[in-house]
Amino acid sequence: MRPGWSRRRLAVAARSWLSTSVLLVLVAATASILANKSITNVVTSFLIYTSLVVGYQMFMGNSGIVSFGHVAFFGIGAYCAALLNIPPETKELALPALPTFLQQTQTGALPAIVIAAALSALVALVIGFAPSRMQAETMGIATFAVLVIVYTVIHNWEEVTRGGLGIYDIPPVMTPVYALLGLVIITGVALAYKASPYGLRIQGARDDPLAVESLGVHLVPERLFCFVVSAAVMGAGGAMWAHNARAFGPASFYFRDTFNIIAMMIVGGSASVTGAIVGSAVVTVVSELMRFAENGIVIGMIEVPQIHGAVQLSVALLILATLFLRPTGIMGTGELILPFSQWARDFKKWIRR
C-alpha cells in the first residue's frame, strides 16, 4: 500500500489545525488578559501538559497499541533540557560530578528543547526496536519495561540527575504564549502525521493487520517510526515542562503521570488529536475539583474529611465511564473543524444588512 500525500487529507488536517489553534489562542489570550498570576500558571501548565498528551496520542491513537513507556521520554526530555539549561553556577554546586563541558554550558531554552527531542528520539530508536517486532498486545506491555528502565536509571544515576533529590533551578522561561506556540506546533505535527502516508499505513495496521501486510506494508519499521516520532514530541514536551516546573524529581515521570496522560487521551478520544486536547482539559478540571475533596475542606460549619485517593479515583471512574458509555471518547474519531468560511459568509451577510 503506497498511499501518497493526499492534498485533500492535508487540507482537512490544515483546517483542523487552524480551528484548534484559534481555540487555543483564545484560551491563552484570555489567560494573558486576566493577568492573574495563578490563572496564568494554570493555563501555561495545562498547555504544556497537553502537548504531552498529544505526543502520546500520536502513538496510541494511530497504532492502536497501548504504550506504557512514553512517559519515559517525557522524563528524558525534561532532564536533558534541565542539564543543558541550568546555570553553570548551580550545576557546579548541585552536580559536581557532571562532565565539564556539560556543566559549563547553558544552551538557552530553544536549543535545549530541540536537543531533548533528538535525544528522546534516539533512545526510542534503540529501545523500541525489540518491542516493535512483537505482537501488538505484547508491544504495549514491553514498553512497560522501557518506563521502568528509564525510571531506574534516572533515579539511581545520581551524578547526573541527583536521583531522588531531584533537579532544580531551570530558568522559568515558559509563558502562556510560548506554551501555546509549542502546543500549536506539536498539534500541527500530530495532525500532519495522522494525514500522512505513514499515519495511514499504521492506521491500516491498527484496523486490519493481516490485510495491510498483504499489501506490502512492513509493520515493524512503521511502528518503530511512529514510536520514535511520538517519543521526540514527548521529549520536546518534557523540555518545555522542565522550563515551567523549574524543579522536579524522577517520580514525575512514572505511573501517576502515565495514568493521567492515558486518561486524558481516552476521555477525549484516542483516535483524535483534538480529543487529546479536550480530554486534557476535562481531566484537569475534574482533578482540580477533586483535589479539594482529597485535602479535606470546610464548607461553612461542615468539615469534610480527607478522602484519600479522591483525585485518582475520580479520574479512574471517568475512564471507566468513557469506556462503558462512549468508548471512542468525547471527540470520537473526528477532529475539530470550525466552519470558518461559513462564518465568513454569515459575517458578510450580517454586515451588508
Binding site: G64, A130, T138, A145, V153, H308, G309, Q312
Partner: protein
C-alpha cells in the same frame, strides 16, 4: 563466587522464581480465557497485604488466620473485578480492556488507601521465617524453602485441578478455543469467573508470601508484582501456562544473580539491568521462550 554462595543463591533464585512464577500463572489464567492482560492482578497482592495487616497488626488475629483471610480477600476482589470492569466490556477491543484494567488497578489501590490505610506500613513477621538452617557448610533460609514449597504445592494443586477435574478441563478448553467451548456447552460467564477466582487465589498466596518476604506493605506494592507478572509471561510466551512458569523462573534467576554479580556501584540499577536483559531476550525471540514464531501482525 564460592560454591556455598552459589548454591545458596541458587536456592534463593529458584525460590524467588517460583514466587514470580505463581504470580505470572495467575495472570496467565485470565489471559487464557479472555486474551487480555489484567493490570489489576498485581494489586491483589496489595489487597492481601493490607487485609493481613489489618487483621494481624491491628486486629490481634493470629497470623495464619490473617493470611487465609488475605488470600480469600484477594480471591473475592478478583471475582468482583471481573463482574464490574470486564463483564460489561465483554465485546470490547484489546486496548479498551487493557486500559479498563489499568483504571481498575488505580481504583483498587485508592480504595485500599481510603478504606484501610493510606500510608505504607511495616509488618512484624513471625520469627519462624527468619530461621536459617545449617546443612554442612550451607546456610539455607527457612523462608526460601517455605516459599518454594508453598509455590510448588500451589502449582501442583493447580495442575491437578486443570488436568483431573471437569471444571479444569473446561477451563483449558475455553483457553484453547472460547467459542467452541461455548458450543459444547461450557457457560461463558461461569468459566470466566472461575478463571478470575483461580487467578485471585494464586495472587493471594503469592501476595502473602511477598508480604512475608518484604515485611511491609504500601498501596502501590502491586506495581512491582504486576511488572514481574507481565514480564514473566512475555519472556515465557504469552498464552502458555508453562511459559508463565518458565518466565517467572528466568526472572527470578536474573534478579538474584544480577544482584549478586553486579559490582556494588551499579547494584542499584539492577532492576534496569534485569529489564534490559529481558528486552534483549525479546529482541532475539519476540514471541517468548516457549512459543513458536508467530506473525508480528496477529
Amino acid at each position: 563466587m564460592t560454591l556455598e554462595v552459589f548454591v545458596q543463591q541458587l536456592i534463593n533464585a529458584i525460590s524467588l522464581g517460583s514466587l514470580y512464577a505463581l504470580l505470572a500463572l495467575g495472570l496467565a489464567m485470565v489471559y487464557g480465557v479472555l486474551k487480555v492482560l489484567n493490570f489489576a492482578h498485581g494489586d491483589l497482592v496489595a489487597v492481601t497485604g493490607y487485609i493481613m495487616w489489618l487483621l494481624w497488626m491491628k486486629g490481634g488475629v493470629s497470623f495464619p488466620v490473617a493470611v487465609v483471610a488475605g488470600i480469600l480477600g484477594a480471591t473475592l476482589v478478583s471475582i468482583l473485578t471481573e463482574l464490574i470492569a470486564f463483564r460489561p466490556l465483554r465485546k470490547a477491543s484489546y486496548a479498551v480492556l487493557l486500559i479498563s484494567s489499568f483504571a481498575v488497578s488505580v481504583i483498587i489501590q485508592n480504595l485500599v488507601r481510603l478504606l484501610i490505610d493510606p500510608r505504607p506500613q511495616g509488618m512484624k513477621i513471625p520469627a519462624v521465617f527468619d530461621r536459617v538452617m545449617i546443612i554442612g557448610s550451607f546456610h539455607i533460609g527457612f523462608l526460601a524453602l517455605f516459599t518454594l514449597a508453598t509455590c510448588l504445592s500451589a502449582m501442583g494443586l493447580l495442575l491437578y485441578f486443570l488436568m483431573r477435574t471437569r471444571w479444569g478441563m473446561a477451563l483449558r478448553a475455553a483457553a484453547a478455543d472460547f467459542e467452541v467451548a461455548r458450543l459444547v456447552g461450557v457457560p461463558a460467564n461461569s468459566v470466566i469467573s472461575l478463571a478470575f477466582a483461580v487467578a485471585g487465589l494464586l495472587a493471594g498466596i503469592g501476595g502473602a508470601l511477598w508480604v512475608i518476604r518484604s515485611g511491609g506493605i504500601a498501596p502501590t506494592m502491586g506495581l512491582y508484582a504486576i511488572i514481574t507478572a507481565f514480564v514473566s509471561n512475555i519472556i515465557g510466551g504469552l498464552g502458555s501456562l508453562v511459559g508463565a512458569v518458565v518466565g517467572g523462573l528466568v526472572y527470578g534467576f536474573l534478579d538474584i544473580y544480577l544482584r549478586a554479580l553486579l559490582p556494588a556501584e551499579i547494584r542499584a540499577f539492577v532492576q534496569a539491568f534485569i529489564l534490559i536483559a529481558v528486552v534483549i531476550i525479546l529482541a532475539i525471540r519476540p514471541q517468548g521462550l516457549m512459543l513458536k514464531r508467530r506473525e508480528v501482525s496477529k
